[in-house]
Amino acid sequence: MALVTYREAVRQALREELVNDERVILLGEDIAEFGGTFKVTLGLLEEFGPRRIRNTPISETAILGAAVGAAATGLRPIAEIMYSDFFAVAMDQVVNQAAKMRYMFGGKISLPLTIRSTMGGRRSAAAQHSQCLEAWFMHIPGIKIAMPSNPYDAKGLLKTAVRDPNLTVIFENKMLYNVKGEVPDEPYFVPWGQAKVVRVGKDVTIVALSDMVDFSLKAAEQLAAEGISVEVIDPRTLVPLDIETIVRSVQKTGRLVVAHEACVTGGVGAEIAAQVAYRAFDYLAAPIERVGAKDSPIPFSPILERAILPDERDVIMAVHRVLDYAA
């Protein structure tokens, strides 16, 4: 075991997969000499050369189009979209092409394509560099989605994605890149579709995505001081979604809070809440609470941004609401 940053964990996964399979290539904006905007790919050019670590023009459609075509013809590309906001200019390649190609062709091809991107705010990056857009992707059948919340998962989920013969999209959280965590020295994989119970509790279940896992754990500490026992579950992947683990927890606690940084309205929390309400209706002692950003573009000024984005205080308030609910 070694204590490494989330950034280093992602880089280790990329490096190991580049070593493992000659068909793996990286393409994206500023990923070569510059090492990527978040320095995730720093050093890979020196080790693997410009044939495999490919700088692209600022042309997201060209990047994703080339990645789709390469994946369909035998390579295993890992494309980087610098900020997930930039998917908006190239969504055709994700939604109409990559997600549907195998299906439209009657199963004749596989598309081993991994797209890495960054998500989230809290950096005063304002409205076009701060969004959490996972709900867009979860709504389209044919896309596997992961949102790693720690270095161990960031590495293991990415390695599994590169070996997966399907389109996988991984949202890395910018605010986690410097966070350190234990990562095994030997190679390992984290399976997709297996939620992790991060903290065991009995009064309330919190399902938290990405850095809302850390906020939920902070909330759980404070709530424990009040005598409230909180269970925190990190789904890790949205597609496939391990709803069984979540339902089992709710059957135990009878109360559910879903927490993500994306806007509440139309967020994936709504989908998780609906599935739990359907499958564990008789176990619920209170309406399901959703924690997320207030419906607004992300503002620039730090004080405004804090007013929009959720943190542990929102989680604590939501837990109190589900506990205080009187039928």
Binding site: I25, R51, R54, T56, P57, S59, T61, A62, I63, L64, G65, A66, A67, V68, G69, A70, A71, A72, T73, G74, L75, P77, V89, D92, Q93, N96, Q97, M101, R102, Y103, M104, F105, G106, G107, K108, I109, S110, L111, P141, G142, K144, K159, T160, R163, D164, P165, N166, F189, P191, W192
Partner: protein, 330 residues
């Protein structure tokens, strides 16, 4: 058809060009009739009048080269070696079709023939073809990759982004613009100020050529040059083939946007009649060409019967083929 007469094209190739065009034309006229009789669901976009482009380009390709097509894609698959029976079954929505009835006319594909799909998003394939070209370049295979698209697609961002990327990466991509004078219903003069789309290649330092898209020999020779350049590491080419879509944007299109006279003028420039006349005047017996036509006709009759007798997919298959089963990782 001076090219043929000048000996640049062998008799075998000349006959192949004729046969491929005729295969496309007869297939399209057959499906037009079947569509009108309600046998084919969905949309139908036909390639009638533009056959020389697919035939000329694909005849210059090897079986292991890649192509990607458009919503008007039957001709490209036929020219790349597509089988009538499996195509017809796909258009009929049958289990035996190329895509098991999941793609239909607008998504018909056969990766084993290097045909990476018809594509119903205008311009999208232009970006994707670079990936196939990258695979070829990266693996050191001397394959080339061809994107077919129309004049309308030359105004999409994908066109400009893809030409630029192909240029900077020196990819073996060949961009074939089938300028059929209309983006759906909008005439070229209304959707772009340039008359020649080929001039846009200069912006990306890519060589370009304009050919008479109704002269299959000219298209073939232009494609041959582009293929040779791409195969030998010389990078991408933009070919603009000027042609004309005889039928509506889709079957059933009332075509209020153009005159009968205009259509008739282009029908006089029929690529198949021109090539047939050239072959006959250079000594190929008409009976030999008639025999080709007859063979195609019979193959099509068989294909229609095959499609009609083929089973529909089991509704239980509707949600298969979304994902490839993933291997277990440890």
């Amino acid at each position: 058809m001076r090219n043929f007469l000048n000996g640049h094209i062998s008799v075998d190739i000349a006959l192949q060009l004729y046969e491929t065009m005729q295969r496309i034309r007869q297939f399209e006229l057959t499906v037009v009739d079947l569509f009108a009789r309600g046998k084919i669901p969905g949309f139908l976009h036909t390639y009638v009048g533009e056959e020389a482009v697919a035939a000329g380009v694909c005849t210059a390709l090897r079986p292991d080269d890649y192509i990607i097509s458009t919503h008007r894609g039957h001709g490209h698959l036929i020219a790349k070696g597509g089988r009538f029976d499996l195509m017809m079954a796909e258009l009929f929505g049958r289990r035996t079709g190329y895509c098991k009835g999941k793609g239909g006319s607008m998504h018909i594909a056969e990766p084993e023939l290097g045909m990476l799909g018809a594509n119903a998003i205008v311009g999208a394939g232009i970006a994707i073809i670079n990936g196939a070209a990258l695979t070829a370049q990266y693996l050191g295979l001397d394959r080339v990759a061809v994107a077919f698209f129309g004049d309308g697609a030359s105004n999409t961002g994908a066109f400009h982004e893809a030409l630029n990327l192909a240029s900077v990466w020196n990819l073996p991509s060949i961009f074939v613009c089938e300028n059929n004078s209309y983006a759906e219903s909008t005439p070229q003069r209304q959707h772009q100020k340039v008359k020649d789309i080929a001039v846009r290649a200069a912006a990306y330092d890519i060589p370009s050529v304009i050919v008479d898209g109704n002269d299959v020999g000219a298209v073939y020779l232009a494609a041959q040059e582009a293929v040779g350049r791409a195969r030998s590491g010389g990078g991408p080419t933009l070919i603009e083939a000027k042609t004309y879509r005889w039928r509506g944007h889709y079957e059933g299109d009332p075509q209020m946007y153009r005159s009968k006279t205009e259509i008739e003028t282009w029908e006089q420039k029929c690529p198949i009649a021109r090539w047939r006349n050239a072959l006959i005047s250079s000594g190929i017996p008409a009976a030999q060409l008639d025999a080709i036509d007859q063979r195609i006709h019979e193959e099509l009759e068989h294909a229609v019967t095959f499609a009609e007798l083929s089973p529909f997919p089991d509704p239980a298959e509707a949600r298969t083929d979304i994902f490839t089963p993933a291997p277990e990782v440890v």
